[in-house]
Symmetry: C2
Subunit: 688 residues, 2 copies
């Protein structure tokens, strides 16, 4: 049981580290009164968003929790699963709350620190990212540890079924934070622009526009809380799936526990490695920000690999399991995680050929810009998915035992755990971007000296790159996690059927039900993407109407004497976006249940079809959106005539199309793919 | 053997009917000298296109044919397959040549007939479509009949392997005609516009622009020859796949031959039914064109069902095979073929909500128009694929025998045969559109009285609707055909392995190789779509340079005294487009071979992954493109400010993005999906 306690200790260490960092941030100077006034509005807006979101969310969690609570406990559902489910939802919600709470307070302190120097500003903003990263891994691993300790002290598949509830709870939050939040952030963005810039003729980020705050809140919602919840889900899902696969594959082996505890131990090692990595993130000037962050991640990755090597070579595994090969599986996950980020950077960075091609095609208008962007996005699918295939191939190879019990699917899950092991720092690197971005906005609004803005701009530019890398990483880890959960689904289905004396399932492509399932599953990402894109437009409409109302009804608002009701604006837009996510959410939760009630084989097909199409669409949409964004920035940097030229106008069209692509629909597909598989796995007893 | 001779007779009847119709068209008045002069240029352009295309094509056919010729004949390849392969390519090429030859001559006669009346004009243009439709079904069925007679008189799976070569040959032409032709048509369109309208400032369809002829040729290339080759491939593929499935499933049953001959018999019945249907296509005025065409198709469908019923109730089938259920499978195919067309019409017609939404979103600019169009395209995937799933489910159900030998996959193939049985008339309805379109262009260029243009416009408007329906039908039939070929692939793989004493394959989703194959297969449609979209831009560039050169070098060209070299323009653009299709073509042919050499299970996954993602992408892209096109037309009809308003400019951007979507990438994916499966099936002996 030692690794379980070590995992618990690592989780607590992560949380302590997060709290220490939080207080270190809060000790920083929060700037002058004007800065604090603006910052406070964003903080209040974020609180308003979370309040509204959590109200809706509670209803969902209570309804689904009750359904689980009153289901047959003999089938792995019931009371225990319900408790784990609610806890998973709560843990992810708390991590998201704490991360956003910190980010909205760190932004103004980053601005203030930028008055002193770049190094200081990097320190504050990166610390804020680390608070998010460490909260996620700390609460996730703590939750898993507690529920394993309580429900599955023997690491049996039966006990781990209850722990799966924790994963399902985390998925539910991810649905709300990533899909609802993704709709909110772009709806606020579009809504603020439409009424403010177009109708009222006031500049962007103008404090008189009540939607400005919502826009700033949106950045935190999408890139901090949304990304955090997405990766919280992957982190929990990959660990629980790996444990379940070990428990099922080696259920009769006394050393099974070693294999089942390995994912926990790797996660624990990853936390300590991530903490160590943070101490290497120091940059004296703007040319070294990127390398500083990269250095931190490389140190953490190498430390995690070293620690994993110790685990693989010292722990007791079942007969025939090769420690060296386990390590290779872990390393393949770590390596592919880094490489997918690099591929994403290649397709979306302002410095590379694909983005320059899009900028070039903007010379002949918006249509050619759009075609080029779509083509870049579609093209980018190949390399990213090839890397995922390599990870799967290598990991699976690591688990093949000639003439013995193979455990390739476990190794694929372990690769996912390896990829996510240093999430504490990699999420930190990712979540520092929006803080730097907001800090820049604050510097502008509070009219600080130009060198402050220059420093925050330098941080923000690197933040854009890390955000793109983070998106690639999120998709890659979602793919491997979903695959691991899918493998657990298949093994568990066979086990449940065998327990009932029924024949094993035919998941073969020769089975027509599997094929129909594949086709139905393939539909869902397209439908989900369409619905979320349309949702942005609809939710933006609610925002537009509220801003118009305030301009009309609040006296003196345009003269700056009346205070705009930013919180109400945030709330209306939040309600609008959450309402818009009802149908996509129902599809994600409902379709596996409906198909499962018809045929488990078709459900297997459904999950595989959604997985394959969902990953492709997620990469396509995220990268197309990122490439359009940076093609516009590249032109704004002076290429093809620079700002306000005809090519720039064409590039703005591409960027606008790319907004829901990269910040709403694309990332939402990660959730669709994982959530569907978790639902299929949790409710499997209903279908057998 | 009677049904085989009946099939041969039906094929000959179709060809005679096509020739009779051809001479009836040629007997019509070809108009005045000016009309004939313009028409002649299009005819020469088409000939130039075909000459260039067939040159490249010959190289491909000779190279691949030689590879097959010298492969081991004991493995189903070798001399016989090579002969069938070359014949399949030749048959499809001849059908395409004859169809285009007729279409380019019928256009001017339609214009002339429109001077007399609408009914006469409909008669000429529809007859031209019927020449294409009947040539396709006649040559396809004749080829199959001859090769079955020669190579598989016993209808054995072994013999049918050689016949498969005919299907592969047809697929090769489809690759060139649909992908190369798809690139050509849009490259010519874009190239003509860029230099003519934008640079030289001369109107569209101006005879001084040497690319104008290429543009008109392009319509015929894409919508007549491309569509024809696509459906020729589906027609042959579905029939041969169904026969192969019968031969393998019931190989020990003396009545197997009845089941193997049924697809031929259904195809024969469908030809006679189609011929009968053509006599019901008569319209006195413009309000009855659509209903006239629809009446013809309904008569043909009902007659085909009635004839199939006779076959199902009178032919001798193996023990346990239910004639009634076979009929249900056929009817499900026919019904879904009609319904998918209706769904496509709903999402792309100027009269319906999705298109009006796009038009409405054009009010706020190009970006919202693009987002709305993409969303409509993605949304439209659901209903179309659901219909395909219903057809698969019903057909598979029809072949389930409790406690006996089930033949569900055969019934799925039979549904595809049913869907395509009335191709003679449905392709005719589809291919009349471009003739009417060209006739309108001729009326404009030859400055005929306005009532002539009004009549051709009425024909053209209906042609746009039937083109959209035809695209949906082409995708639906491609999906079912690919599924049938895929089922044949699986059964044949098992058979070949069993013959070698090897274990049956594990095509289960639990097999990691299958999963990797699925992911790799999912990449291909995205890559293919990206490459074909980019190809349009690149090929257009070659056209632009040639037109610029002619404007510069040919004296008096702008004054109308120098004759533009249209044929050279067509040739350069043809070479450009064919060069651009080398990479996509290599991917389609090469990827199944490469993956197959690694693992047959992975190849199964690859084909399934490409099938699922390919169908989704094909529907998404075709329907998005169609919807953007008609949103623009709807605005041009007066909505949202009409032509040259801001919404119209936004809608033009959407339409331009939609052009390669609906006319290049979308339809090309049909070919990718089918061709990959055929390649996997034909070269299977290499992998075992």
């Amino acid at each position: 049981m030692t690794p379980l306690y070590v995992a618990g200790a690592a989780a607590v260490a992560a949380l302590i580290f997060a709290i220490v960092k939080y207080f270190a941030i809060m000790k920083q100077d929060a700037g002058d009164a004007k800065m604090q006034e603006i910052s406070k509005q964003v903080q209040e807006g974020a609180a308003a968003f979370l309040k509204a979101e959590y109200t809706w969310l509670s209803l969902f969690v209570i309804a689904v929790g009750a359904a689980i609570f009153f289901s047959d406990p003999a089938q792995g559902l019931g009371q225990k699963t319900a408790i784990a489910f609610v806890s998973g939802a709560a843990a992810s919600a708390i991590a998201g709350y704490f991360g956003m709470h910190t980010a909205t307070r760190a932004a103004v302190r980053t601005t203030q620190a930028a008055r002193t120097g770049l190094s200081e500003a990097l320190d504050v903003s990166f610390s804020s990212g680390i608070v998010m990263g460490m909260s996620v891994v700390g609460l996730a691993l703590l939750g898993i540890t507690i529920f394993v300790h309580q429900y599955a002290p023997d690491f049996s598949a039966k006990g781990l079924e209850y722990v799966l509830g924790f994963s399902f709870g985390a998925s539910s939050i991810a649905l709300f934070a990533r899909v609802g939040g993704g709709i909110f952030t772009k709806a606020a963005d579009v809504g603020a622009d439409l009424v403010g810039k177009v109708e009222a003729g006031i500049p962007e980020d103008d404090p008189r526009n009540p939607a400005t705050i919502a826009d700033n809140v949106g950045d935190n919602v999408g890139d901090v809380a949304g990304m955090g919840a997405d990766l919280f889900e992957s982190y929990v899902g990959s660990i629980v799936a790996a444990m379940t696969l070990a428990a099922i594959t080696f259920k009769d082996d006394p050393n099974m526990i070693g294999l089942a505890m390995l994912p926990l131990a790797v996660a624990a090692v990853g936390i300590f490695a991530s903490i160590a990595g943070t101490f290497f993130v120091k940059a004296a000037d703007e040319h070294h920000i990127h390398s500083a962050l990269f250095r931190g991640m490389i140190v953490a990755s190498l430390a995690a690999i070293a620690g994993s090597a110790v685990l693989c070579f010292t722990m007791d595994f079942p007969e025939g399991v090769n420690g060296m090969k386990l390590l290779i599986a872990i390393v393949s996950g770590v390596a592919v995680g880094v490489l997918i980020g690099k591929v994403t950077e290649y397709y979306t960075s302002t410095e590379t050929k694909p983005v320059h091609t899009i900028a070039n095609k903007s010379e002949t208008g918006a249509a050619t810009n759009i075609i080029a962007g779509l083509a870049v996005g579609m093209r980018s699918v190949a390399l990213s998915v090839l890397l995922i295939c390599v990870a799967i191939y290598v990991a699976n190879w690591a688990g093949i035992v000639e003439g013995g019990l193979s455990y390739g699917v476990y190794c694929v899950a372990l690769a996912a755990v390896g990829m996510l092991s240093t999430l504490g720092i990699s999420l930190g690197v990712d979540a520092y971007g929006p803080v730097a971005d907001n800090a820049g906005g604050l510097a502008e609004m509070a009219e600080l000296p130009p060198e402050v803005r220059e420093r925050t701009d330098a941080l923000d530019a690197v933040g854009n790159t890390t955000a793109a890398i983070g998106k690639g990483f999120a998709i890659g880890s979602a793919a491997l996690t979903a695959l691991a959960l899918f493998a657990a689904f298949q093994l568990r289905a066979d086990e449940l059927l065998a327990a009932k004396g029924a024949a094993a399932l035919n998941f073969s492509l020769t089975n027509t039900e599997v094929l129909i399932g594949l086709l139905l599953g393939g539909i869902l990402p397209f439908l989900f993407a369409a619905l979320t894109m349309e949702a942005v437009g609809n939710a933006a409409q609610a925002m537009v109407e509220e801003v118009r109302r305030q301009f009309r009804e609040i006296p003196g608002i345009m003269e700056g004497t009346g205070k705009p009701d930013a919180a109400r604006c945030v709330k209306i837009s939040t309600d609008g976006s959450l309402k818009q996510m009802v149908v996509p959410g129902l599809i994600a939760v409902g379709s596996p249940i409906l198909v499962g009630l018809w045929s488990i084989a078709a459900l297997g097909g459904l999950l595989a079809g959604a997985l394959v199409t969902g990953i492709m669409m997620a990469i396509f949409m995220s990268n197309a959106g990122g490439a359009w964004d940076n093609a516009k920035k590249y032109i704004e940097g002076g290429a093809h005539g620079g700002k306000n030229s005809e090519p720039h106008k064409a590039a703005v069209v591409g960027d606008t199309v790319g907004d829901p692509f990269k910040d709403t629909s694309g990332p939402s597909l990660n959730i669709l793919v994982k959530l569907m598989t978790v639902v299929g796995l949790v409710f499997l007893p209903w279908f057998v």
